[in-house]
Amino acid sequence: MKTVAMNLSGAVETPVMPSSPYLIDADGHPYVPIGTAGIVLGVHLGDGVFDHDADHAAPGVTLEHRDQAARHALTAYACLGNEAVVHGGAAAGRRGRVLGKRGEQGRVIVVFPDDVLEQLLPGDPILVRTHGQGAVISPTVTLMNTDPSFIDRLPLSVDGDRVRVAVRAAVPSSLAGNGIGRPAHMWDIDLQITSGPFRLGDLVAVDDLDVRHNAGYRRGWRTVGVIVHGGSPQPGHGPGLMPMLCGPAEALSLEIQGDQHRGVTTGDIESQP
């Protein structure tokens, strides 16, 4: 069936905090969360997920919408690789691409070139050409959160009902934290790790995780996604994996590349079709 694109609008998120700024880390110590939302400078695809003393920092900007239902819709329909255009303000007309999304109220993460980030302000309107939910890659492996026109930039191959994908690493489902039990079309899964070689834009596999109808444990299944934000001091949180592919392990095979892995890069995001 033919997939459908929709132009949706979001706004560059305005970071908000309660009257006490502290969150509590896994050891019970207070910290001030930095870089959780809005326009974050100095964080790029390819950076290590623990390179910055920040909380859930993503490379680029996060989008919100003043209406919560519209915000959920924007989050649900935005997909990796979707084109985003600044629709007003000092950077009007400049282009970026969706990297991923985060859960709870819903946030879309958009990567823009550095000179665009420097001109953006919270509240600037962004048009997102949402496209990808409903796209099919194979009869046995489910595709989600991914623009079909972006697939040829990803290290994966399709052979009939089998998909083979190159990843940095595979991790067990016990590391799946915040995001488990939530709809994976609208919510990333935080990996509960505090160290490791993972980089923003990496593809990573989670074994025994089925994300087709909410994210949950299913032995023998596998989910592959892209790392869309960095680590967090909060227990149960960590680098965020936005699910892209899910299927029985025998139909979704891995090439585990370790240090040789190249996931989604700035070049992939900035190149035009």
């Binding site: 896994a26 016990s174 590391l175 915040n178 488990i180 039990g181 299913r218 032995r219 227990p235 149960g236």
Partner: protein, 277 residues
């Protein structure tokens, strides 16, 4: 009978008001289970009859089964205070309606305070009826076990639980089940004074590939969650244990399931855990 020394004589009680909250739905009705099958089932909110502490947690045609009364407070701040400060075992009194004066106890939290009381009392309670909760327990310390953080636990309930200070100085806990970290579903990453930790692979009637061997849990059971640190939130941490009281039951929504309210958490070396046979 617990022999654990605590700071209970230093704790204060706050009387908090709440009301029995209606069950909530939206006009689309359905949710979907692990296999993508739509369902529409009762269990959350309102007054749920026929499931009490000691009864099986699962085996009901229900979703997010909340035993007894599901209580919230009107107003965001007042509700969070109620959810954070209510502890398992706290005394709850019905304050309006035909069941005025009936008394129950907090079984746990689940974004509602869940109150178990006698079936004949539950039968007379309606959503909207007001209740008071004698909130007592946050701030509890186990004086001989400084590495263990206690929470959501009324000291009077602690006295009734199979928890004691062992001869080796560790906290001895007898549990109904050991729960592997892979079973931890929704709740991961949330603060541990709020709601509970849904356990996956915990009810019969699903595919073998979904089972984690937890199908026999009962409401009120003590369980130990392996590699879970719930001292200051809920997260995976090798070498840590969390003890919880099963406070919710059957759940069809994928990634969810019967859940323990966290009451004790610390390094595994601080506990000795015995499984009931």
């Amino acid at each position: 009978m617990s022999t654990v020394r605590t700071n209970r004589d230093r704790l204060v009680t706050q009387i908090l008001a709440g009301e029995v909250w209606p069950a909530l739905a939206d006009r689309h009705g359905y949710r979907v289970d692990a296999d993508g099958t739509p369902f529409l089932l009762p269990g959350m909110g309102g007054v749920t009859l026929g499931a009490h502490a000691g009864d099986p947690a699962t085996g009901y045609a229900a979703d997010h089964l909340e035993p007894g009364l599901s209580v919230r407070a009107a107003g965001e701040g007042a509700n969070m205070a109620l959810q954070f400060l209510a502890c398992a075992g706290n005394k709850v009194t019905v304050r309006s309606g035909p069941a005025t004066g009936a008394v129950g106890r907090v079984l746990g939290q689940h974004a509602y305070v869940l109150v178990d009381m006698a079936e004949e009392d539950l039968e007379r309670v309606a959503p909207g009826d007001r209740v008071s909760v004698a909130a007592y327990g946050q701030g509890l310390k186990l004086l001989d076990h400084p590495e263990i953080v206690a929470k959501n636990l009324d000291p009077d309930l602690l006295d009734e639980l199979p928890i004691s200070t062992g001869a080796d100085g560790r906290l001895h806990v007898r549990v109904a089940a050991r729960v592997p970290a892979a079973a931890v579903g929704a709740g991961a990453g949330m603060v541990s004074e709020f709601a509970n930790t849904d356990l996956m692979g915990a009810y019969a009637g699903q595919g073998e590939d979904l089972s984690l061997g937890l199908e026999t849990l009962r409401l009120g059971d003590l369980v130990v969650l392996e590699d879970q640190d719930h001292r200051y939130g809920r997260g995976y941490r090798p070498g840590y244990l969390t003890v919880g009281v099963i406070s919710t039951g059957h759940c069809r929504l994928f990634g969810h399931g019967p859940g323990p309210t966290s009451i004790l958490s610390g390094p595994a070396s601080a506990f000795s855990v015995e499984e009931s046979s």
